[in-house]
Symmetry: C2
Subunit: 339 residues, 2 copies
Amino acid sequence: LIVALDAHGTDAGPEVIVEGARAAAADGIALRVFGEPGELAGLEQVEGVEVVPAAQRIANEEEPVRAVRAKPEASIVRAAADVAAGRSDALVSAGSTGAAMAASLFALKRMRGVHRPALAAQLPVPGGPVLFLDIGANAEVQPRHLVQFAYLGSAFSQAVLGVIQPRVALLSNGEEAGKGTQVVVEAHEQLAATRGIRFAGNVEGRDIPAGAADVVVTDGFTGNVALKLMEGTARMFAGEVREAARSNPLAIAGGLLLRPALGGLRRQLDPNVSGGAIMLGLRGVAVIGHGSSSGEGIANAVRLAARAVEERAVERTEALLEAGGVLRRRRRRPPVEVS
Amino acid sequence: LIVALDAHGTDAGPEVIVEGARAAAADGIALRVFGEPGELAGLEQVEGVEVVPAAQRIANEEEPVRAVRAKPEASIVRAAADVAAGRSDALVSAGSTGAAMAASLFALKRMRGVHRPALAAQLPVPGGPVLFLDIGANAEVQPRHLVQFAYLGSAFSQAVLGVIQPRVALLSNGEEAGKGTQVVVEAHEQLAATRGIRFAGNVEGRDIPAGAADVVVTDGFTGNVALKLMEGTARMFAGEVREAARSNPLAIAGGLLLRPALGGLRRQLDPNVSGGAIMLGLRGVAVIGHGSSSGEGIANAVRLAARAVEERAVERTEALLEAGGVLRRRRRRPPVEVS
């Protein structure tokens, strides 16, 4: 099993790539690392790691689709092509999310019968992560897209996160079936009639952190806003608690005593633990790590990608979509002309 | 100045209404309280408070528009009619949000030239509340609705919250002008060309708790999801900290020492402090309190409504919309027929 790792684009520079690749290689995962060999000092010597020179890079500011098309030598494009060519089994990048989405879509291609691939995040909530999609691949969706997202998320939750019968819910502004935009209301109707997944109805914003579902489905606009709002609220809250624990001597003592017990919460909220977001609905595995990833974050992104390959996530997703009868239908015969 | 207060619908029962009405009356705000006199023991005797018998009530489960039409004697409908008839100056309810929205819209009417009234919440963030709208009145919007929301929010922030030149931002999945759904992109273009408000461009979900804007505008679907997600995340976080502070003797000691310093955060996150959500774009003032309001929450909702009347929020909103040139135009002459 070989993972293609894009070495460019992490906030902390190539050191975290070196650290992450070492840690993943120590677990027996082989890697092809695409980047500037001069920046990846010592990685050549690690067993199971091959450094593939790719100096070109795509910055966060660049328009992703255009940049991916214009820079065939960029590390993310080369890494994605490596997977497409069968030299590697999965793609991992912690660079520009847009570029990683575009490169993986172009190289790995949509799964047959899938309308729109989606980007899924693991939200850190008590009792285990909630798989949340779409977090930004499709700002605008149609009901049939949301229906497929439910299958994509359910299959991944089952195959890779080990949830036996994932409860799949639709995000809305009310629990009743009739609540939401027209698109959400129609998606609810269609999901209520599907088979092969465990549709749990609508959930509201407050139900996500409460762990009311294992998979929560929404459009990429709402999903992106929600994900970042959750991150921002947790950060604000942590900052306020930290501030309070500095405000006077008694509080400082209290903060120090409480600190070890808060370690679990800190670990739970650490985005490095989950390893990153996953592109679902492609013919291959692509994991997009947080730009702020640590070495451990990179290693966990590689481990997540490897697990998806080992667990045959792509094949199991195809099978679930097929069994659910929600694949895009090809026209069998030309449409009848109405004269 | 007289506030019409709906006594039905609070989770904790009529006691919090009695407590809240007493506290507001002590501040010199006169009240007409619509409810069951038998449940409002002692309120009749409070100076400045008049109890108006209205036994009928609208439950959370009822379809709001239908219920408001079918129950002219319901306390919320009577209270709204009281404001419309000029006997009271503002409406306050902590009952069903949908019923309160419908009753206030029917009785108080849309402001001339306003497409769609919106419901605005004050989000508790460090450095002062962020006014956030729409949180649920309009699941689906058009660009011109979002443009008016920006003016409605700006006027309220200025008039009632005392923000001198409120920074008004549009919620999107990226800061760049081109990010978002088609509706958001068009609203951004229109807002960038407006006058009279301080348009600060797009903000992302993470910017809301960071206090990057004073007023944040979005559609009622995204706004409702976001508001509830923020509440849920704060609750989850507080629960985890509480849990940690119970986990072992040292942590218990730490939690006790830290407790006083955390009081500020607790007060900041307490929805009772802000008093509730505000319907904007009506010809009168309507405040919708949280169903879980305490007596203090009810009193603060009444104070917020009174402040909006005193500060002439409605008139100032009309003036700002007019100055911005964003009122709905009436057709001056019949449209020309194309033959």
